[in-house]
Amino acid sequence: MTSNFPERSLTRSPMSQRTLFNTVMTVVAFTCGVLALLPLLAVLSYVIIKGFSSLNLAVFVELPPKALQKGGGFGNAILGTLVMVGIAALISIPFGVLGAIYITEFSSARVARWVRFAANVLSGVPSIIAGVFAYGIVVLTLVKLNLGSYSALGGGFALAILMLPIILRTTDEALQLVSQDLRQASVGLGATNFQTVSQVVLPAALPAIVTGATLAIARASGETAPLLFTALFSNFWPDSLFQPTASLAVLVYKYAISPFKNWQSLAWAASLILVLMVLITSIIARWATRKKA
């Protein structure tokens, strides 16, 4: 077959200006990719190397040492973090899940759009503003009632504000993925709205909701700013929800900027625990959702 096209007209010369530009841009883009991953590797390797060298059993069960004193740990900060994240989860999970049920199951499309919009904007509110808000709502109220001031309660409330939009959005997405057939089948069998939601829709979406809640909890346990003036810090074991409470994140901040070597090494150990907590939950969540899909 004869062809009217000149030979090789469809291949580009490797030295043409357009091909060169193409190659240069590819190199530039890959350089960007490497630059983006560099900090991740740098932060992770530094935290792991520095953190592991100061990690031991005492770190988990003992109280913080005095400056320049050897040993000690941050058992009280771990307990405090668990308590405050627990309070936050108790407030935000029911709140967020029920709110999400309304916008996916019962509301009009317009209301749903507005609530989603508000939740997205709420998730962009700086965490320090959540702290100022919790200070006004909880700390000042406790002072007025003479029950205390800076406390685990205030810290938990501030963290709940930060978790709320995440819980709402992940539950919202999980519920939207539940097949419409399931709802119709349930209604067809004569179930009420309440029965359909609680016995058919929620169980179907539960794994995704749990994953979302776990990620939100992991994220909240690393938050520092809102705890600085709601929970403050303490060198002792927490014995009441109405007293200043230590947390891992605030301990990292306080000890990292201190001039004492022993406090700095505790800060690295605490950073390692925070990072591991976030990494492990993210990896498990990713793995669990991929298995499902």
């Binding site: 590819t26 900090p39 932060v43 530094y46 320090i128 690393g222 976030v278």
Partner: protein
């Protein structure tokens, strides 16, 4: 989903009263919580406004242009902090936007095998999940020494430029900007990638079919098509950068001055709050609340704009 509930209401006519009221109660309960989530935003705004009322009465709009912050004689203004917030975010975005968009292109095109891409996308997500305070610790011990050396060199050779006119003392505007770049990068990358992926494949095929090279397609077809998505990614990154507290507080030096030099220490609104709130009393608390209100307003505007752009993109 609305039709769903309408069908239900007709079926409910022959139910017992208790069942009906349980059902109605449940719907009302979820409704209250849904509106509660939206209402939280208003609650935060009004609460912070109430807390700052004494300072608003005393200083008015002059608070925004006054440059002193002096708790001893109760004279307050947040111009240096507003300047620091905006400049540090700007430096952060200046570094993060090109790198983030470049990374998004690598992760959305078929440069790499799908499995490698999946791992890299996950790695970028992890970058977003590392707590802010850990970035701060890393910044103090690793980033600041590196940038101080770089700053000394810049000051030595380019000291005649106003940006490098002071000798670096360690913490300052530059380290804060770099850490903000690292922290906003994952958001910009992830959202830009989403925008690039959702460009219809027919556009790409048409462009390649007309004989365009890969990069001609990317720059002249894909990026214009995904432009509003990328802009909203940058806006959300900006909102995040302006509100970021811990890492910046640990790296910016917390000095309430306005300096053109990037090597000099500065301050941001969120760092001011983090440093002073727990030890403040009286009018200082109100002044800090006023500063918080300014920050709340600034981030609210940026976030709402970003959301509106996203909404418009989704409707098209």
């Amino acid at each position: 989903m609305t039709t769903n509930s309408q069908n239900l209401s007709s079926a409910m006519k022959n139910r017992s009263g208790a069942e009906k009221s349980l059902d109605q109660g449940f719907i009302w309960l979820t409704k209250i919580f849904a509106f509660g989530v939206a209402g939280t935003l208003l609650w935060i705004g009004s609460q912070v406004a109430i807390g700052s009322w004494p300072a608003i009465q005393k200083f008015g709009a002059g608070f925004l242009v006054n440059t002193t912050w002096n708790p001893v004689n109760d004279s307050y203004g947040v111009l240096p902090q507003i300047y620091g917030t905006l400049l540090s975010s700007f430096i952060g975005l200046l570094i993060a936007v090109p790198i983030g968009v470049g990374t998004a292109i690598v992760l959305s095109e078929d440069f790499l095998p799908a499995k490698v891409k999946l791992v890299l996308v996950f790695a970028v997500e992890l970058l977003a999940a590392i707590p802010s305070v850990v970035y701060g610790v890393w910044g103090i011990f690793v980033l600041v020494p590196i940038l101080t050396n770089l700053g000394k060199w810049l000051n030595g050779y380019f000291g005649w430029l106003p940006f490098f006119s002071t000798s670096p003392t360690g913490p300052g505007m530059l380290p804060a900007g770099v850490i903000l770049a690292i922290m906003t990068l994952p958001i910009i990358t992830a959202l830009s990638r989403d925008a690039l992926i959702s460009v219809p494949p027919s556009l790409r095929q048409a462009s390649i079919g007309l004989g365009a090279t890969r990069w001609e397609t990317i720059l002249q077809v894909l990026i214009p098509a995904a432009f509003s998505g990328i802009v909203s990614a940058v806006m959300l990154g900006l909102g995040r950068a302006m509100g970021e507290t811990m890492a910046v507080t640990m790296l910016i030096g917390n000095s309430n001055n306005i300096s053109l030099s990037l090597l000099a220490p500065a301050n941001t609104i969120s760092s001011l709050l983090a440093n002073q709130f727990s030890e403040a009393s009286g009018l200082q608390v109100a002044a800090l609340m006023y500063a918080a209100l300014v920050l709340f307003f600034l981030t609210l505007v940026v976030n709402i704009l970003a959301e509106l752009i996203v909404m418009r993109v989704k409707r098209i």
